[in-house]
Symmetry: C2
Subunit: 213 residues, 2 copies
Amino acid sequence: MAARDYGQYCGVTQALELVGERWALLIVRDLLVGPRRYGELAAGLPRIPSNILAARLKDLQAAGILRRVPRSRVIIYELTPYGRELEPVVLALGAWGFKAMGDPREGQVVTPDSMTMALRTAFRPEVAATLPATAYAARVGPAELLVRVDGTSLDVLRGDGPVDLAFAAGPDIRRVISGELAPDEAITTGVVEVLRGAPALLGRFASTFHLAA
Amino acid sequence: MAARDYGQYCGVTQALELVGERWALLIVRDLLVGPRRYGELAAGLPRIPSNILAARLKDLQAAGILRRVPRSRVIIYELTPYGRELEPVVLALGAWGFKAMGDPREGQVVTPDSMTMALRTAFRPEVAATLPATAYAARVGPAELLVRVDGTSLDVLRGDGPVDLAFAAGPDIRRVISGELAPDEAITTGVVEVLRGAPALLGRFASTFHLAA
DNA sequence: CCGGATCCTATTGGATACTG
DNA sequence: CAGTATCCAATAGGATCCGG
């Protein structure tokens, strides 16, 4: 889309010329979680052809959205400050798309980076501020995340650490976040499996992360 | 983009599968201003081929984003409530893209609907609330808009009416909105031509509509 | 193995002409 | 006016290959 011109002098068209091409905003989505190597991006976007990934990285770099940083023999891609300003766009798209997500289709996966951004989208700081600081270990499919909520701040990390509640769930966790499925019901029906900690803490999780459907 | 699947169970990918195709969000942008006929959409998107416009309208309708409404012999396209919820996405894109807009390129036009959405993007209700209600007639290129600000509410309409300030400008009006160009300087350099009313009111306009660059 | 580049095919988009 | 139909150009997808 970049080269082809919409022919309008307008912020929206300008934005779409820079990040409107297929896959571009998904690369940005993953880089919003943190700097990534080429192979990590490819792994987080399993269906992207390698030539397209290479082309997009080039385009996004030329647009000043990301930077290639050589770091001890490997190349790291990271967003520039201007690229990071796309976060509201990605969050708004994610919140809107969330409502249209039905049940997972055949072959659809949940990646750690997409899950991280989904949690950021659903995070309600004003609710979290009223609750005690809590750490969760959330496994959704193959994505294992350490989620730390403290006051109005949210951290989602890969890796382990001490947590108050550890649980595993399938993509149906969406129905808990949307409020369609009550936390205790999610546990009794097996949608969420509590691995460690007090099952009641899942209610706190559901209050902290919520998006209307 | 719609049929081709990103293969992820994620709000962002879901959104991009529905509105990620070329031209789709521009159709939504224009429909956010108001219901439009096929020919009006085509006029507001001068470079869209008619087959693409027809295809997008079909896709967007199938996705539940817009509706075709037969109204007294003609067909009107209007957003559904779900489609209207894309407004934050379009505003976020517009605000981000605004910063990357350089000077207008050859052949780029400003349409009434894109200008309307740009004003909505730049509107600062918290500033407007501190100022007296004001009506402006703004002509930017061929787009002539009646802009009414009252308290925290903004109305942008086509057509005429009594105004406090009428002015004409080129695309460089962007530099006033970004704060690059002071209102009085815009007038003395001819970037903005005041047609009726007190030139000092352009300062009020610039405070009311502002987007950082 | 990582980070791409290349090649070829399949789809999509663009320009224009045409029709109810 | 509100779209279809057609044909060509541009992009995306998929497999494979290459250099450090």
